[in-house]
Amino acid sequence: MTDERRWLDRLCERATRALARRTSRRSFLTRLGTALAGTAALPLLPMARAATESRPPVPDDAALHGEVGDPKSCSYWRHCAIDGFLCSCCGGSQNACPPGTEMSPLTWIGTCRNPGDGKDYIISYNDCCGQSLCMRCRCTRTEGERPLYLTMKNNDLLWCFGTQSRAVNCSVAVVLGVATRT
């Protein structure tokens, strides 16, 4: 019994001294502080919250039949006023630019009617800039377009303004919201 206690005492003493040699109180406090601050900051990360709050209502394309529901087709419902190469065919999507290109902040905006729900959606045709012309899925549709002398409403122009490069690669068709006439 006595021997055993001594053995346990010695073990504990050795372990404690080893721990004390390796670490300091300050380092423990540093780590504890980091952990506490990290835990507190975790809910601030922008993860899913931003995605759920800022998404406008986009109708489900699965309800559409044929080319009107195919983002790689000129007849796709969002493409009613598109003039250019579809990013969906160029390594991007109807919402996103292909890798290596930059979305122009200046854009041509119009409305397109969704045949699925009959609503008019506000569509932004942003050019993706920084690569040469994609040359796939060339579309020219002109709903709501106006002649060239009304430059703001003409979609023949290249819209790579405010980007690092003026070279146009393709165009996206992003839903910005629902248009309702009151």
Binding site: R55, I109, G110, S124, M152, F161, G162
Partner: protein
């Protein structure tokens, strides 16, 4: 900025829709514009009402065509210029806009520069 969440709930209509379809492509949803390319509306558009000729300029600047321009201008001043509009300013009317649109600007950049210089002299 017209929060997409709001648009999601109610849809966009009236002057907000006219702004989205006619102006927002260049001036952006939050009126920030693109520095060096498109002038900002936010924090800027209301200041034009402080100098002589500024009120008229906002109507006559091309690109802002389309029907209910008085409503869009009043909406823009409220949204992007609330802190800058001088007290006592009356809203635009359709009649005023129609009169001013009959005299289009030929030198927009020059006219704008004069107004901005007049604003800077006021500081």
């Amino acid at each position: 900025m017209l929060a997409p969440g709001v648009a999601a709930a109610q849809g966009t209509s009236g002057p907000a829709l006219d702004y989205a379809v006619t102006c927002q492509g260049c001036h952006r949803a939050d009126g920030a514009g693109t520095p060096g390319t498109v002038p900002a509306l936010a924090g800027s558009v209301g200041k034009f009402l402080r100098v002589p000729g500024g009120r008229e300029f906002l109507v006559r600047v091309p690109g802002v065509a389309q029907a209910p321009l008085d409503a869009v201008l009043n909406w823009m001043l409220d949204r992007f210029g609330r802190d800058d509009v001088p007290k006592g300013v009356v809203p635009y009317t359709a009649e005023e806009v129609n009169q001013l649109r009959r005299r289009p600007l030929t030198d927009v950049v020059g006219a704008r520069r004069q107004l901005v210089e007049a604003l800077e002299r006021m500081k």
